[in-house]
């Protein structure tokens, strides 16, 4: 049967069938939301971890490198499924929105109410602007290659400028103990973390330091390059997971 014939004979669902199909939509959406809130948040906490928990870990070198790189994983896989199977360009936004919800829940309950940290010390970062751009690039290009290269890069490059309006004011200097600290550093000193000594923070180390003042743009471009690869990798992971075995009879 040719494509044109297929088109001609296509009958949209109506009546009861349409209602059931719509109910199924909502069921899947709600399940997906909870699944992503749980799994993506867990994945993120285990991989990015401290870089995203604490205001005094959000440095200009490692944080903009690691966070987008780990943040693009689930969006790539879910985008693949949503786009290839349903032409829905919302995989990345859905994932990152779920991550944001999960992160906020954890920060408020686990960090603030359970462990007494002020919420501003554990403010989550946002990747929603990155995710929106990633989704529309996929929709407009309909191409894995273009999305991986342009979308992956945009995802990484937009990360630090999206978050500077949130964290910038925490980088105001404070004179303290005969030296200068940022407000963020002062949080780390004042609000006692028993399991986390100052030396555990991995900030400003390694060869990227050589470029001095340009640490952030360099990290962001490095992250952009890695994100293109990571995107492609997770696209195929998504493909491997998404089987249409159960859909053949519809």
């Amino acid at each position: 049967m040719s494509a044109n014939l297929k088109k001609q004979f296509f009958q949209p669902y109506t009546g009861e069938k349409a209602r059931i199909s719509r109910a199924y939509d909502y069921l899947i959406l709600v399940l997906a939301l909870f699944l992503f809130i749980g799994s993506f948040h867990l994945h993120f906490a285990l991989t990015v971890g401290d870089w995203d928990f604490w205001i005094d870990w959000k440095d200009r070198q490692w944080w903009p490198l690691v966070t987008p790189l780990m943040g693009i994983t689930f969006p790539a896989a879910v985008q693949m499924v949503m786009w290839e199977k349903f032409r829905l360009p919302l995989g990345a936004t859905l994932c990152v929105a779920a991550l944001s919800i999960g992160t906020w829940i954890a920060r408020i309950f686990a960090y603030h109410y359970w462990n007494f940290f002020p919420i501003n010390m554990v403010l989550p970062s946002t990747m929603l602007p990155s995710a929106l751009v990633l989704d529309v690039i996929l929709m407009l290009s309909n191409s894995l290659t273009v999305t991986a290269i342009l979308g992956g890069s945009a995802f990484a490059l937009l990360f630090y400028p999206s978050n500077w309006p949130i964290i910038g004011m925490f980088h105001e200097p404070v004179q303290y103990a005969n030296g200068q600290l940022t407000v963020a550093d002062l949080f780390g000193f004042q609000y006692i973390r028993t399991g986390m000594p100052e030396y555990l923070r991995i900030i400003e180390r390694g060869t990227l330091r050589t470029y001095g003042q340009y640490a952030t743009p360099l990290s962001a471009f490095c992250s952009a390059l890695l994100c293109t690869l990571m995107y492609t990798l997770w696209w195929y992971i998504g493909k491997w997971f998404a089987t249409v075995r159960y859909l053949t009879k519809i």
């Binding site: 297929k6 088109k7 949209p12 349409a18 199909s21 939509d25 005094d56 870990w57 440095d59 200009r60 199977k85 032409r87 360009p89 936004t93 929105a97 944001s100 960090y111 359970w114 462990n115 007494f116 940290f117 002020p118 919420i119 501003n120 403010l123 989550p124 946002t126 929603l128 602007p129 929106l132 751009v133 529309v136 407009l140 400028p161 500077w164 309006p165 949130i166 910038g168 004011m169 980088h171 103990a177 005969n178 030296g179 200068q180 600290l181 940022t182 407000v183 002062l186 000193f189 004042q190 006692i192 028993t194 399991g195 000594p197 030396y199 555990l200 400003e204 180390r205 859909l247 519809i250």
Partner: protein, 409 residues
């Protein structure tokens, strides 16, 4: 699917327990005894008070000697952080001093060095907590100092923590930047929700899958969708860069997170100061009696007769009853008041060199899990031997060390 779910739940509970570790990791006795005895040797730790209210400040101060015989399996203390064990920030650390110098970062400690410290803490959450000063040692763990129960009274809502930035602006650390952060999350959240709803309002999975299979791709992504996509593609980066540019201009003095260590040199020698020299010839631990016997050669180079008053290690103090020195200790340090005895109680005269046997005997060796030493890969003991002159006017401290030989009967 079921196993996947179980795996997921296990991982989830694991992640949650990771989150809460900060609250309960006390581990005073968890660390191997040789690390507790031969790294940071605390003494004279004092708490200014144990009952205070929210917003009131207390001081914990004390001294420590960094053992010369630092265990080879523990990395040298090139970055050590003097910390406070608390169940979360129930109090905040407002000031910290090492050898009188204020400091905020980690420091390199020198084996054999002597240090005095002072930490100022301010009550934040009412309650009763067990609190210790302790050292985070890189790749080794937490070497606890003597703890106390602190009782914080008052109302958590009264807590204030105001700080002046370098511009002279006074900020409240409890709420600084919070509403701004929430604003940006809501702003981007609303845009994302709009994009999701734009798609979700149409029939989704089954309908779209069927249409895609039927080749009706053009109807799935309309011209209008594409137009909105283009607006997002241009608009979102413009918004991001614009907001970023405004923030940069609003906070032109912003600096990167600070990453330096502090540099603080040890005090002039307090322990092993060369006045009373001690050489530990032998150490034996008799398991049934729970008694550590030291054979030591003591050379009194001071101008006074001296007596052995105490052996202290890993927050356990074995005292010599025969020497009645003042015990000013309001911490939970374990004290064996009659734990120390010597074979020759006569004072060691000025200029005298004497070899003598000292026995530190108490069940605390076992209850504090220090006897595990004899089964460890490093079974060397360390601790502070404290001498007093006969008028209890002056004190001489030696940090001693020796391999321990177990005696099973």
């Amino acid at each position: 699917m079921k196993t996947l779910f179980i795996k997921f739940m296990v991982l989830l509970s694991l992640a949650l327990s990771l989150n809460t570790q900060t609250a309960n990791a006390h581990g005073e006795k968890a660390l191997e005894p040789f690390i507790r005895m031969r790294t940071i040797q605390w003494y004279d730790v004092q708490w200014s008070t144990q009952k205070f209210a929210v917003n009131e400040e207390i001081i914990v101060s004390g001294k420590f000697h960094v053992a010369e015989d630092w265990p080879v399996s523990v990395p040298k203390p090139d970055a050590a952080f003097l910390n406070i064990s608390t169940p979360g920030p129930v109090l905040i650390r407002t000031e910290r001093y090492l050898n009188g110098k204020p400091y905020t970062n980690s420091v390199a400690l020198q084996p054999g060095g002597d240090y005095s410290f002072k930490i100022v803490l301010k009550g934040r959450l009412p309650g009763r907590y067990h609190i210790h000063p302790f050292f985070n040692l890189k790749d080794a763990g937490q070497v606890m100092g003597p703890g106390v129960w602190l009782e914080i009274a008052g109302n958590a809502d009264d807590f204030r923590n105001e700080v002046k930035t370098i511009n002279g602006e006074v900020i409240d650390m409890e709420t600084y930047g919070l509403s701004n952060g929430i604003f940006w999350h809501i702003f981007w959240g609303a845009l994302a929700a709009g994009w999701l709803l734009w798609w979700v309002r149409r029939p989704l999975f089954i309908a779209r899958y069927r249409m895609l299979q039927a080749g009706l791709e053009d109807e799935l992504v309309t011209k209008q969708d594409k137009l909105i996509g283009k607006v997002i593609l241009i608009g979102v980066p413009l918004l991001v860069l614009g907001a970023n540019w405004m923030t940069i201009n609003q906070y032109p003095k912003a600096i990167p997170l600070q990453a330096s260590l502090d540099q603080i040199l040890p005090l002039s020698a307090q322990v092993n100061a060369g006045v009373v020299e001690v050489d530990t010839l032998k150490a034996e631990y008799r398991i049934p009696e729970r008694a550590m016997t030291f054979l030591v050669k003591i050379n009194n180079k001071s101008d006074k007769p001296i007596q052995i008053g105490e052996f202290a290690t890993a927050n356990v103090r074995f005292l010599n009853k025969a020497v009645s020195m003042p015990i000013s200790d309001n911490t939970d340090t374990m004290i064996a008041p009659e734990g120390l005895s010597v074979d020759n109680p006569a004072p060691i005269e000025s200029g005298e060199e004497r070899t003598m046997t000292i026995i530190a005997k108490d069940a605390l060796w076992e209850s504090e899990k220090l006897d595990g030493l004899i089964r460890d890969s490093d079974s060397r003991i360390g601790g502070l031997l404290v001498f007093y002159d006969s008028s209890i006017g002056e004190r001489f401290i030696s940090s001693i060390t020796a391999p321990v030989i177990p005696k099973f009967n």
